[in-house]
């Protein structure tokens, strides 16, 4: 078992309360020491486990206790630039309770609550996700419209700060858009990238589904909702370019499947796709995937795509975390996409299936799909 240097020093010293207090006062947690990370918890318990979502490592790992103290620890290798979300399970009276790491102020929120976040060496939270007082803020609205496919739906609308009716804008449609706003700082990111000329002014539609696992799983009705209801409606309401090059579909996980599937249903309608950690499950033989029946329609779709890959858009940005179970599916999809002649960019990072990973890729993805006027402006 690997033991971190700080723990070795603690174990070798006096086990007094003062010494332990000094250890906690002298470190920030988890302790990152080059390529090693040490998780630490302090308290009385029967056992403490690290619970994380790093595919490839045991998802539950037991912390060891420093003899003669109430300090628990676990060290393993964490490659530079990694970002890992985790919780601690503290077992008392035979009952395990999952908690955020009380020693770590870094939290990542998601629809299920919040996880603690460990940053490997040289990972930095991008500065462009933070509000910039010099970046004019776009306007957010919520509109309602009646879809022939799904009935009444609400859609969030982002209009850039310098929005003018006399101009024409690209249209970005974001699956789980409200979650992107809440958990991936999408509004701030758009404001900042636009202000830095890294992406053009654009109109962004944030969609959210009341039944996403069904609607996003390569559902033909969802494709029709996008291409026959939503986009035409937005093109009537807003001055957006009615051109494939100016239309982008984006989503993460099932939202990425929904994006690719809608583009497949109507090739050439969306010229740009941004696919984050897509749940692109497939089989090489048979039609049952180990992921369960929710994935059956996805497997059918991806198998069909793999059998007959075709250019459905012009540019496709694909990204996936190396610590996701979906890395295999995404790596497998990319050569298929490339074989069609589409311009494909694939980015892997040391992160998991979570909103902050998807947030961190927005700059590269959006600016590659829609390069802003950065190359045209020389002040």
């Amino acid at each position: 078992m690997t033991i971190g240097r700080a723990i070795v020093e603690l174990a070798a010293g006096p086990k007094t309360k003062e010494a332990v207090d000094a250890f906690f006062a002298g470190n920030s947690f988890p302790i990152v020491d080059g390529p090693r990370i040490t998780f630490v918890w302090r308290g009385e318990a029967e056992a403490v486990h690290l619970k994380h979502w790093v595919f490839g490592l045991p998802s539950s790992q037991r912390l060891a206790r420093v003899d003669g103290t109430d300090v628990w620890h676990l060290t393993f290798e964490l490659p530079p630039e990694s970002r890992v979300e985790y919780k601690l399970e503290v077992v008392r009276g035979g009952h395990g309770e999952w908690i955020q790491d009380p020693l770590n102020p870094n939290l990542a929120r998601d629809p299920f609550g919040a996880n603690s976040v460990a940053h490997g060496a040289s990972y930095q939270v991008p500065e462009w996700i933070r509000p910039d007082p010099t970046a004019p803020a776009g306007r957010m609205d919520e509109i309602f419209f009646d879809s022939a496919v799904f009935g009444r739906r609400s859609v969030g609308i982002y209009l850039p700060a310098r929005f003018r009716r006399t101009r024409r804008y690209p249209l970005l449609v974001v699956h789980d858009g409200h979650d992107y706003l809440r958990y991936a700082s999408l509004g701030t990111v758009l404001d900042n990238l636009i202000a830095r000329l890294e992406i053009p002014d654009m109109v962004v539609a944030l969609t959210s589904s009341p039944d996403r696992l069904n609607e996003y799983a390569s559902n033909e009705r969802h494709g029709r909702f996008l291409t026959e209801d939503l986009v035409p409606h937005l093109e009537r309401l807003f001055p957006v370019e009615p051109q494939p090059q100016a239309r982008c579909l984006m989503g993460a996980s099932f939202g990425a499947v929904a994006s690719l599937s809608a583009a497949w249903q109507r090739p050439g309608f969306f010229g740009r796709l941004l696919l984050e950690s897509g749940s692109f499950a497939f089989t090489d033989i048979g039609d049952r995937n180990h992921r369960g029946p929710l994935f059956d329609p996805i497997v059918a779709f991806i198998n069909q795509f793999r059998a007959n890959p075709m250019a459905v858009a012009e540019r496709v940005f694909v990204t996936c975390g190396m610590y996701e179970s979906l890395i295999y599916e995404n790596r497998s999809l990319v050569p298929m996409l490339q074989s069609t002649g589409m311009d494909v960019r694939y980015v892997e990072v040391r992160d998991g299936h979570n909103w902050e990973n998807w947030r961190d890729r927005l700059r590269e993805g959006l600016s590659w799909l829609f390069p802003g006027p950065l190359l045209l402006v020389y002040e």
Binding site: L193, L374, V377, Y378
Partner: protein
């Protein structure tokens, strides 16, 4: 070629202080005609610049005038937009070709063969870049020429009226000053109103995008785009008042000056034009179409940067 000086500058510190000093050195005391069309909708936010220039100024308001033209001449506007869309498509196709040539050059450069052979292949890659740069520029020129032939901009009433007003302002001005900004927007507005034609014989002081549009070839570049890599690309032909020069403003933020191979390839690609990196405080002075003097960094075909190049 204009006998009056054409002075190209780098980005302006404190709004336009260097340009103001250059105008004073030229002995300009009277009003100057100002072009800020590169600022697009912010065109009229010129108070700080005018204060820094320290002279009476009349802003030609080319962006606002172009909006008036587009609102008042529907057939022209439609054709203009179609032309711009065609140019955008061509620029995109050209970029795809550049990417493939770049990928091929990279793939060849790592082959384990004699260095002499790699050297030859390097030259082949540079020649391919030069060829598609040239083809792209020619296609752009052809599209502009056809558009001009078809629409005869100067004969359209609303444009003729604006040109007449602009001519009057320039005629009463001692010099024309062109600020930077969005280079395509600036180029198009200046073409629409034939500003360079109307300013013949007047001294011109221009910086950043303003300097780029006065050259023969406008080259877009950025070594640090957010998506990783951007190959320099020719945008369009400029007005040709600064022949033989490729202007690269703001090198501190945009150019990897220590990338010897990248600089060598770029300079070879643009040769025989001279590539100049124009930071703050730099200048190149033309008279009769020739460089009179310069104080600027020159990118050489060997990949070195010739600091404080003074001219040929």
């Amino acid at each position: 070629m204009s006998p009056a000086p054409v002075i190209l500058l780098g980005p302006q510190q404190a709004g336009g202080g260097h340009a103001g000093a250059v105008l004073r050195e030229l002995g300009v005391t009277g009003p100057v005609a100002l072009v800020t069309a590169g600022w697009q909708e912010r065109e009229a936010d010129d108070a700080a610049l005018i204060a820094a220039l320290g002279l009476p100024v009349v802003n030609l308001r080319l962006h606002a005038r172009s909006e008036a033209v587009f609102a008042g001449d529907a057939p022209l506007t439609q054709a203009y937009k179609a032309r711009q869309e065609l140019l955008r498509h061509l620029q995109g196709f050209y970029r795809v070709r550049l990417d493939y040539i770049d990928d091929a050059a990279r793939a060849i450069s790592v082959r384990h063969v004699e260095p002499e052979l790699l050297e030859q292949e390097w030259q082949v890659s540079v020649d391919l870049f030069r060829q598609i740069d040239s083809d792209h520029l020619e296609r752009c020129r052809k599209i502009h020429a056809e558009f001009e032939d078809r629409w005869r901009l100067g004969e359209r009433a609303i444009i003729a009226r604006h040109r007449s007003e602009i001519a009057a302002v320039i005629g009463a001005s001692a010099a024309v000053v062109i600020a930077g900004g969005h280079v395509a927007s600036l180029l198009n507005r200046m073409k629409l109103f034939d500003v360079v034609g109307l300013a013949a014989g007047k001294p011109m002081v221009a910086w950043s995008a303003g300097a780029m549009v006065l050259t023969e070839r406008i080259v877009l570049f950025h070594d640090y785009p957010p998506y990783g890599k951007a190959i320099a690309q020719v945008l369009d032909a400029g007005f040709g008042l600064a022949p033989g020069l490729v202007v690269l403003p703001d090198p501190l933020r945009r150019i990897r000056m220590d990338d010897t191979l990248g600089i060598a390839r770029f300079a070879q690609r643009m040769a025989p034009s001279t590539c100049v990196a124009m930071g703050q405080g730099t200048q190149v002075v033309f008279e009769h179409g020739r460089i009179l003097r310069a104080s600027v960094d020159r990118l050489t075909t060997s990949g070195e940067v010739d600091r404080s190049w003074a001219g040929p």
